[in-house]
Assembly symmetry: C2
Homo-oligomer: 394 residues x 2
């Protein structure tokens, strides 16, 4: 059995050695600024165009439709602010789900302050968005709809195709945050029927600091970063050439190896889910039992405070998450679990395990071995658990 | 003599091997997301805090005042939009110089469309900004002044201390774009007297894809990228940990080696300037003869079209620039040279050489050897030169 297990791959994952190898020359031997007018510049420019093809292929888009950015937050901010502001002639109404990532919800809130109206579509107990609900939320002045492809906290995969059909009829632009899915499960922008899609390198074993927004040809967008002439004037700033080479290579590998990876991840995930539910009482699986990401196992462990659980697990060599990966350090009650109707008391015990291609059965075994004593220890000092036991004895 | 010379270090430079070594572990062995609540997260968090100290030290700021971003354009956009919008209670007037980089001028133009008023301060024939001119442009409703520390096209270093004194009296926030200077010449935010300062990793042999905005404590700013909780909520988005480690290491090296580097660069620069002016007639040095960056040699070669010159030089193994590095591929007449009163016909022949610590005398020699025949060949097909010769014969 392993004595260390990293089960937080959605927060960030170790970069694939083949990706690092591909990136390395671009720091020195093949360095260059793609906008320079000489050999070094052309070499760098060629490298990012190869990456553009690799990323486009991963999601069924055209290379010319890929805009490289620095992170998922930037892709999502660019999509929300850039598409909403550009579409202002049609109207100032936006539709999002209530379980979007904060990199969608925060810019939406900013737009709200600037006079946009926003409809937040609810989800069911599994975190699923009903296309009918989206249909009912659409108005003649709806300019933008943004619904995530899969949720990062509970792993639920949305019926994006059905939602897209509904949105298309309205004439609104449809963006999907595919950060949790691109490179993990098949994502095809044509099949999904979306107009814009965000994806992030370090979700599929590429480097941090690079991401992309796919934007369907001929759709206008206001830039967020202005100044140079990069990325068709939609995203200015000197290119991160090694990073872009890295996301390209990672996309190529994800495309080639996806079925093999998904098979392995699904098997580990199911083992983990079964082991946790069997060994820890008063625990539920969050998210949809079937329509979920292959690497995603999320739970609520009752009578437990998530932060304490993470700290204890970490001391046993296990890295996991609770609530949003981006807020793990600053635990607030999860807006996702609340939207799914999970009571705050139960949501407190959120535990999120995201597997990666480097995980093994030994990692899952370690978690299943170490979690029960951690939970036991924490429940022993929980007044809520104490009360529960006393009541049940009566 | 070398058969290849890279003289475009301001566009981007090869990353220092010691910086690459420092970064490498953070792709795999020491990977992590700094906001994660476990050992890997804490390890990543510690790494970026070390980098924050290294970058702060380079410019005489406090670590807590460093905001990591993805590129100089982002730092400049964040400063301009974030400070102007936050300061709206004081007024809606902005002062910039007429030779700022487009990552300053474009967001300023966007703010102008949103109702801000802008004063563009002129420069003299050497590209110097007169603090008196800045003083005259200040109004009671001036909320932000942004003047670059040194210009990237002509290498002129501005009297920022004197300008800061003038701005301070007015109560406006003073930002300086120090992208061309930080890591190259001494930059001390206290001595300069500025409130905010942009700097970029790949200007001092760090990696692309990472930069910083230093912002004096207690100065409010509106975020550009919203969503997570990173960088004190001023810059959300998963950290580029290897990149941040890289800018930190590069800052440390720049700090330690600056005098030695400057001495070498100045010597090569002066050789290059002398050689070009001596060997190419009808050529002027642009920018200030003394108050210029130690690695910067810029010229206007009359009767020459810059783009063609770059192409010929590239075919002889020499990488150089013309006009702004960021626009080299899409040559427009330079707004900087125009602001300095250089006629468009002369500005067309802009040639910018920026030296780096890996350059040698052999690189300079190659340039001095190859440039005259390139210029000769181009002048032979220049109708303007032809006319000039005919006139002078009369």
């Amino acid at each position: 059995m392993a004595n260390y297990a990293y089960l937080d791959n959605a927060a960030t994952a170790p970069v694939d050695v083949r990706v690092i190898e591909a990136m390395m020359p671009y720091f020195r031997e093949k360095f260059g600024n793609p906008v320079s007018f000489h050999e070094c510049g052309l070499r760098a420019s060629d490298a990012i165009e190869v990456a553009r093809e690799q990323v486009a292929r991963l999601i069924g888009g055209q290379p010319g439709e890929i805009i490289f950015t620095s992170c998922g937050t930037e892709s999502n901010n660019l999509a929300i602010k850039g598409l909403a502001r550009r579409g202002i002639a049609k109207g100032k109404h936006i539709v999002v789900s209530s379980i979007e990532h904060f990199s969608i919800l925060h810019p939406v809130r900013t737009l709200e302050k600037q006079g946009f109206k926003v409809t937040y579509v609810p989800v069911d107990e599994h975190g699923i968005i009903d296309p009918e609900q989206v249909a009912r939320s659409l108005r003649p002045d709806t300019v933008l709809v943004s619904i995530m492809h899969a949720n990062n906290e509970v792993g639920t995969i949305q019926p994006i195709e059905d939602i897209a059909r509904v949105v298309k009829k309205s004439g609104a632009i449809f963006h999907t945050d595919a950060i949790a899915t691109a490179g993990i499960i098949p994502v095809d922008v044509q099949k999904l029927g979306v107009d814009a899609l965000s994806l992030v390198s370090n979700q599929f074993y590429g480097p941090q600091g690079v991401a992309a927004l796919w934007l369907r040809r001929n759709i206008g967008i206001d830039p967020l970063l202005e100044g140079g002439i990069q990325e068709g004037d939609i995203r200015s700033g000197t290119h991160n050439v090694p990073g872009i080479v890295g996301i390209g290579k990672a996309a190529e590998l994800a495309w080639n190896e996806m079925p093999k990876r998904a098979k392995k991840l699904t098997s580990l995930r199911d083992m983990l889910i079964e082991g946790v539910l069997k060994n820890i009482e008063h625990t539920i699986l969050t998210g949809h039992p079937e329509k979920r990401l292959p690497h995603h196992a999320s739970f609520c462990v009752r009578f437990i405070e998530g932060e304490a659980m993470l700290a204890y697990l970490s001391s046993q060599g296990i890295s996991a998450a609770s609530g949003s990966a981006c807020a793990a350090k600053y635990l607030k009650s999860s807006h996702v679990l609340a939207a799914m109707g999970i009571p705050a008391e139960l949501a407190q015990g959120s535990l999120i395990c995201t597997l990666g291609i480097e995980n093994t059965k030994a990692d899952v075994d370690l978690m299943i071995k170490e979690l029960p004593p951690v939970v036991k220890r924490l429940r022993e000092i929980s007044p809520l658990y104490d009360e529960f036991i006393r009541r049940n004895k009566k």
